[in-house]
Symmetry: none
Subunit: 194 residues, 2 copies
DNA sequence: AGCATAAATAATAA
DNA sequence: TTATTATTTATGCT
């Protein structure tokens, strides 16, 4: 009385691979086990490069012709995809990833260029501060990381923010800088200077 | 004079800002380069195990005594932490991670048991809101985009949806609004105009 | 076959 | 640290 739930839908790799009956190979000779292994590996390597599914999708769309959405990458990694599609996508991903890793070895900058994102994409801040306000705050911070109460009041007034908010911003800013500067300062090793 | 610890008026921060580097070791003999390397490695290994910062934090809290929040793990990985704290935290993380990897080799189940979470926490099924519910939610949102916990509970009750689902809906709704209004001239601050 | 968005995870203002 | 925002992933739908 085993009624197939699939109702004619093509089963996904994930569904097939969890069935021990097939021994890792589907009826068309596709090695499902190999695909599963690659998918898992792909995710780890992607994360090691610090790339998001969106980035991979966009990069592939740019270099490989057809469109690869974030959803497509997601579904591949989760094996929520038909064996046929997976079989087709696998070599594309494999080739692309290998190249990406090559660029990464030459430096993080090269990778980001290869991926196609902006090299120095500005990070979005929490909404309490507008980007403009952050810029102004940083300018003040560079001049003086420890403003007096009077100065804080004036900055807050200029930016039209709550005084307390500005005070805490300086606190957090100093904290972050203090914590990270020592350890992180060595990251800039490929800067052309000695 | 006494040692000023408070974030408001420590005069040494300005000095820290422009402090020259010391070749990978700080004044207390901590190998910063080693910590940086480990932090990077830690993240990759954590992701390879498929663990979240939250899971690591909770597991550490359970096995190691003091509390380790998701934020703490995040800050360690980002090196947004003092060298002293990092030095203290590093061996704990190293030991824990090694053990986690050991359990993982014995099987995914063992790892999840070690981590202490539910064996296989499934992602919540994506809820579909009825058009009627969306309409009601939007009406509430227009009146108040940031309802209190009490209000959320009431709205959820009225619509007969899970409270958490409603809470997340407001989160995402705020997010969407923010993203779209960014395209237009945005106004983040409704405080007294200048 | 992929968009819209719900849910989950990471980062950060307080 | 905690509560919330920002970002990323996953999935219901057509």
């Amino acid at each position: 009385s085993s009624v197939p739930i699939t109702c004619g839908d093509t089963p996904t790799v994930g569904q097939l691979v969890s069935k021990p009956q097939q021994g890792g190979t589907d009826e068309e000779g596709i090695n499902l086990e190999e695909i599963r292994e690659f998918a898992k590996n792909f995710k780890i390597r992607r994360l090691s490069l610090g790339l998001t599914q969106t980035q991979v999708g966009q990069a592939l769309t740019a270099t490989e012709g057809p469109a690869y959405s974030q959803s497509a990458i997601c579904r591949f990694e989760k094996l929520d995809i038909t064996p046929k599609s997976a079989q087709k996508l696998k070599p594309v991903l494999e080739r692309w990833l290998a190249e990406a890793e090559l660029w990464n070895q030459k430096g993080q900058q090269n990778l980001m260029e290869f991926v196609g994102g902006e090299p120095s994409k500005k990070r979005k801040r929490r909404t309490s501060f507008t980007p403009q306000a952050i810029e102004v705050l940083n300018t003040y911070f560079e001049k003086n990381a420890l403003p007096t109460g009077q100065e804080i009041t004036e900055i807050a007034k200029e930016l039209n923010y709550d005084r307390e908010v500005v005070r805490v911003w300086f606190c957090n800013r100093r904290q972050t800088l203090k914590n990270t500067s020592k350890i992180n300062a060595f990251q800039c090793e490929n800067e052309g200077a000695t």
